[in-house]
Symmetry: C2
Amino acid sequence: MRIAILLFDRFTALDAVGPYEVLSRLPDTEVVFVGEDRGAVRNEVGSLSLVADAALHEVSRPDIVVVPGGPGQTDHMSDGPVHEWLRTADENTTRTTSVCTGSLILAAAGILAGRTATSHWLALEQLSPLGVTPSSERVVRDGKYVTAAGVSAGIDMGLGLAGELADEDTARRIQLGIEYDPLPPYGSGSPDKAPTEITEALRNRSRFLLEGRS
Amino acid sequence: MRIAILLFDRFTALDAVGPYEVLSRLPDTEVVFVGEDRGAVRNEVGSLSLVADAALHEVSRPDIVVVPGGPGQTDHMSDGPVHEWLRTADENTTRTTSVCTGSLILAAAGILAGRTATSHWLALEQLSPLGVTPSSERVVRDGKYVTAAGVSAGIDMGLGLAGELADEDTARRIQLGIEYDPLPPYGSGSPDKAPTEITEALRNRSRFLLEGRS
């Protein structure tokens, strides 16, 4: 099984590394980070670079695609090499997946048309204009399309995929291997649970958070 | 505030990227990945490379140090440039921290002598011979030393640190920003919660999981 994780400038690191840490532990599975070109790709903060070990044209038939989000998503909302690669890859995938605002890229490429999907909570309203029904669930499945909510939700998505692609025992072994028994010190992980003033503070900065623009 | 995250060959990616994703969002904070030399550093699976933007000698006085774990930890259990750098940095840090088996490196460098710390659950028993009292808590604080359990525990540690280094509201904003409202699909994240046969399966493979040796 070959899994391709897309990288692009100003991606969010945990969007990519969360599912990676789970899926790379599946038996008989090869994960490859793929970018428009080979080489280091920098995140939105600017202090982290992950290496794309393959260029798009070198990975033509992955079984699974993972598209992370991040402010750089805004550079991939119109046709171009990334959309072409995604559409071609999607013809052969058993799962086409995204984390955070990666779903906006899939939607803009026409891959999620008529489907239900999720995204970062601040970006959910951007799905409808792209022909996608938004859902605020943490992980949303619609056929072979699996989308995860913001950033850290990719870990939960990865474990769900592990159970489907291998079996439940394998997924449980991976969960125990990465000791994923989360204990967040603050109960502020979703807009419903966070104090109203915290949620509103982020809403007011949403363009900066989603697109890196003030 | 300057935060240095150590990279070494065969590190575990999420150990480093979990705390990074939280701490890099702190205001007025610079995070730098540091390695023995500058350049790409490959994880234990072999399919992920993070770039060390600085060499050890270029980052002499970080305020905070984060040491990830991973099978490559076994290469850093005796004196050498990494231990020297850690000991020197520790003289000036406000927090010296680790995720997973990163605590074994800190312990081997003598930095945790007489302290209480945690590690990956499979590695806890390795702390006592290094003069450290083991604790199976997910995040352990002893003075300025903060250690996290296996892999994903670094996210929880990062949020706790964010609350201490900035303030609770900032930590809550970061938690909501990364939508950290975890929903693991299987209740197998700790040896106490996983089915016995899953826990035993991992115990039997512990040398492979911890050290990459079969």
